[in-house]
Symmetry: C2
Subunit: 408 residues, 2 copies
C-alpha cells in the first residue's frame, strides 16, 4: 500500500465527462489499496472567464479580491470530483484551501505556501477517504483567500505530497510523459522513463510545458518523486506508465543528454559602443532589474581598443519594448547604438551526465555548424548548454541535435 | 447617519454592467454618510449552471458537496462587487460566509443561520469600509460550507441586518415595490408605500414573488424594517422609493385590505363517500403528512345520513400524483371515490385591518357572485381570506376584488 497524490490539470477536468474519466483513474488507485489525495485545477475556460470578469471591472484590481474570485474555479471542480468519486462508491470529500488549512504568505496572486496542516487529512486518508483538494489556492494568516500564480495546482500537489509524506505525486495531463524533445518537431522523439529533478528544472524553465519549474524545484527540495502521465490513455500494464521525475541516484542508466528544448520567447538586444569601464554592466542591468525585466543570456565582447565594446543579451519578447525604454533613460549610455532582433530562438541540450563528460558542447557546435546555423550567443550551466540562433532554424537545429546526441 | 444592509438579487447582478449599476446604488448610500453592508446573489445563470453540473454527475448528490459547489456563484459576485466599489473610490472588501463567520446548522442545502459573529464587521463598518457578503451561504460547526436554500440571500441580508442592528435592510430587485396585486393583471394596481410584516408574510407565501416568506418572518421576529425597491430605477427624491415592510404600529394609515394575491399552483382532491367516523381525518392526512405532502385548504361537508361524507382539500400540483398514490394505499379508504381537479386557483385578500373590521368576507363573496364565479373552498386566517375557484376565472376574480376593496 502506498500513499499517492494525484493531480488533474485543466484539460483533464475540462467538463463533466472528463471529470468522470479522471475519477476512474482515482478509483483504480484506490482499488489497488492505495491511500489517495487528489488535487484539481479549474474546468477548462472557467479561470479565464473569472479573470475576464475582474479585468472587465478594473484592470488595476485589488489582488485580494481577484484571488477570492478566481479561486472559485478550483472549488467547483473539487466538489464535482468528490461527487463523481462518491457515485463510484468511494468515500471522498472536497477541501478548499482554507479548510485544510493550506497557509500561504500574503503575496496575493503569487503567494508562497508556508504550511499545510495535515492532521485531519492524515486521519481521513488512513481511514480510506479520498481527499479532493482545490489546487492553486490557500489562505493567508489574515484569513483571506490567496492564489499561487501560474502552475499553482502543480505546486499544490507537490507541496501536499511532501506534507503527507506521500510515496509519489502523479501529475495527470494531456501528454503521456516527458520527451527527449517536442514530438511535433521530431516525430521519433522518445519518452523518457526517468529524468532527474535537475534536468526537469532546466527542461521546464527552457520551454517544455509539461511541468511548472516551481513545482519541480519544490519536488527536488522535498524529495517527492513526481510522475507525469496522461489522463486520456489507459494505464494498464505498467506501474509507471509515464515519466518519473526523481533523484539522480535513483536513475540507473544515465544518458549524457536527455533532452533538447527550445524557446521562441526570446528577443536579442545588442548595445554597440559601450564604454569599456568598470561598473558599466551594473549601469545597464541595474535599471533593467529595477524595472523587473528578466535578462537571460549575456555576452560581452572583448574590447579591441580598450575603450569601447559591444554587449549582447536577451529578454522575453513581451519585455522588449519596456527594456528599450529603460535603456534609453540610462544617462551613461547616451552615445551608444542599440540593435534589436526579436526573431531569435534559444535551443538547449540538457543532461545530468554532462557533469562528468567532456566534449558535450563540442558535439552541439559541430552539429549546428554542419547545418550552417550561426550561433549568436552561448550560455551554459552544469547540466545544460543553450545557444541563441535565428528563429527560422529552430526545427532544423533541434532535429540535428536530437540525432547528434543519439536520442532518435 | 444610518447603518444599512443592501441586498442585490440575481437580476440585479446579472452581469458586469449590472454589477457596476448596483455598485452605484451602494456608492449613493455611502455618499449620504451611511455605513453600508452589501449582500449579493450569484450572477444570472451561474447557480443553475452549477446545479446542472452536480445533477449531471449524480442526481443523488451529497448535499455537502452540492453546497461547496453551488456557493461559488455568490463568492464570485462578492469579489466583483468589492472591485466595482473600489474602482469608485469606496473602501470595500468581500466576505465569504466562513470568513465572517456566518454559522449555520448542518442541514446542508437548507441550513438555518445560528449565529453571525460581527465583531470584525462592526469594526470595519464603523471605519467606513463597505462589507460585501456572499449571500445564501454559511459555514457549519464542522467547518463545511452550507447553503440556506431558496431565497437564501434575502434571509442572509435580513439576518445580517439584525446582527448588525442595522436601521434598514434594502432588498434591491427588478420591481420597484410591493403592489396591491399583480400589475400584469390589474394595470392600475397601486404600489404600497408601507405594508406590515404580517401582511407581507401572507402575500409572500400566497404567491407574491417579491420576498421569500422565510426572510419576512425573520425580519418580523427581529424587527428589521425591510424596503423592497428597484435596482433599475433612479432613486432620486424620496428617501424611501420602494415599499417599506415594517411593524403594524409604524403604519399610520391602515387599509382594510392591502393586497389581492393568487396562486395557480393548486390541485383539488375530493374524497367521496368517506365514513363519517372519529379519526377519519387523521387516517387521511396522517399518511400525506408522512409522505411530506403539504395539504392547504380543507373542507369537510356535513354528513347527511350520519354515515358517509365528502372531504375536499388542496395540494400543490407537483404533489398531486404522489398524493393520489398515498391515498390509494390507505386501507380504511378502500371504497371511496376520488375526484381530482388540477385546474383550480387560489385567490386571497390580505389586510391587517381585517382584524378589526366585520363584513370583509361578505364583500369578497358578493364581488365573486356578481361575476358568476363559484367558490369551491374557503379558508381564512386573522388577516386573509382565500377562496378556491376554477383557474379560468383567476384574472376576472382578481380585477373584481381589486375594485370591490377600493384598491384601484
Amino acid at each position: 500500500m502506498a500513499r499517492l497524490v494525484l493531480k488533474f490539470g485543466g484539460t483533464s477536468v475540462a467538463g463533466i465527462p472528463e471529470i468522470e474519466n479522471a475519477a476512474e483513474k482515482v478509483v483504480a488507485e484506490v482499488a489497488r489499496g492505495h491511500q489517495v489525495a487528489v488535487v484539481v485545477s479549474a474546468m477548462a475556460g472557467v479561470t479565464n472567464q473569472l479573470v475576464d470578469f475582474c479585468r472587465g471591472i478594473s484592470p488595476l484590481h485589488d489582488a485580494r479580491e481577484y484571488d477570492a474570485v478566481v479561486s472559485s474555479g478550483e472549488n467547483i471542480t473539487a466538489g464535482l470530483m468528490a461527487l463523481a468519486l462518491q457515485k463510484r462508491g468511494v468515500m471522498a470529500r472536497s477541501w478548499q484551501g482554507w479548510q485544510v488549512p493550506l497557509v500561504t504568505n500574503d503575496m496575493h496572486g503569487k503567494a508562497r505556501i508556508e504550511e499545510i496542516r495535515t492532521v485531519e487529512f492524515d486521519k481521513r486518508l488512513s481511514a480510506g477517504e479520498v481527499a479532493v483538494l482545490a489546487g492553486f489556492q490557500g489562505v493567508t494568516p489574515m484569513n483571506r483567500i490567496s492564489t499561487l500564480g501560474r502552475g499553482g495546482s502543480d505546486t499544490t500537489a507537490v507541496a501536499l505530497a511532501a506534507a503527507l509524506k506521500a510515496d509519489r505525486c502523479d501529475i495527470y495531463t494531456d501528454v503521456n510523459g516527458v520527451y527527449t524533445t517536442d514530438p511535433r518537431i521530431v516525430p521519433n522523439a522518445r519518452k523518457l522513463a526517468r529524468v532527474s529533478y535537475e534536468e526537469m528544472v532546466e527542461m521546464a524553465s527552457l520551454g517544455a510545458k509539461v511541468l511548472q519549474t516551481r513545482s519541480v524545484e519544490m519536488a527536488m527540495k522535498q524529495n517527492v518523486p513526481v510522475q507525469v502521465l496522461s489522463t486520456f490513455e489507459p494505464s494498464i500494464g505498467s506501474d509507471l506508465p509515464g515519466t518519473l521525475v526523481t533523484r539522480e541516484e535513483d536513475i540507473v542508466e544515465q544518458h549524457i543528454v536527455n533532452g533538447i528544448t527550445y524557446s521562441r520567447d526570446e528577443a536579442k538586444i545588442t548595445l554597440i559602443n559601450v564604454p569599456d569601464i568598470p561598473g558599466i554592466a551594473a549601469s545597464v542591468f541595474g535599471p533593467l532589474s529595477n524595472a523587473n525585466i528578466n535578462v537571460d543570456m549575456i555576452v560581452q565582447n572583448v574590447s579591441h581598443d580598450g575603450k569601447l565594446t559591444d554587449m549582447t543579451f536577451t529578454v522575453t519578447r513581451a519585455d522588449l519594448d519596456r527594456a528599450l525604454e529603460t535603456l534609453k533613460n540610462v544617462a551613461s549610455l547616451k552615445d551608444l547604438k542599440i540593435h534589436t532582433d526579436a526573431r531569435v530562438a534559444k535551443v538547449s541540450v540538457v543532461g545530468i551526465g554532462m557533469k562528468s563528460h567532456a566534449g558535450v558542447a563540442q558535439t552541439m557546435f559541430a552539429a549546428l555548424a554542419e547545418k550552417g546555423i550561426n550561433i549568436q550567443a552561448i550560455s551554459t550551466s552544469e547540466i545544460k548548454i543553450s545557444v541563441l540562433i535565428a528563429e527560422d532554424y529552430t526545427e532544423l537545429a533541434i532535429r540535428a541535435l536530437h540525432t547528434a546526441y543519439g536520442l532518435d
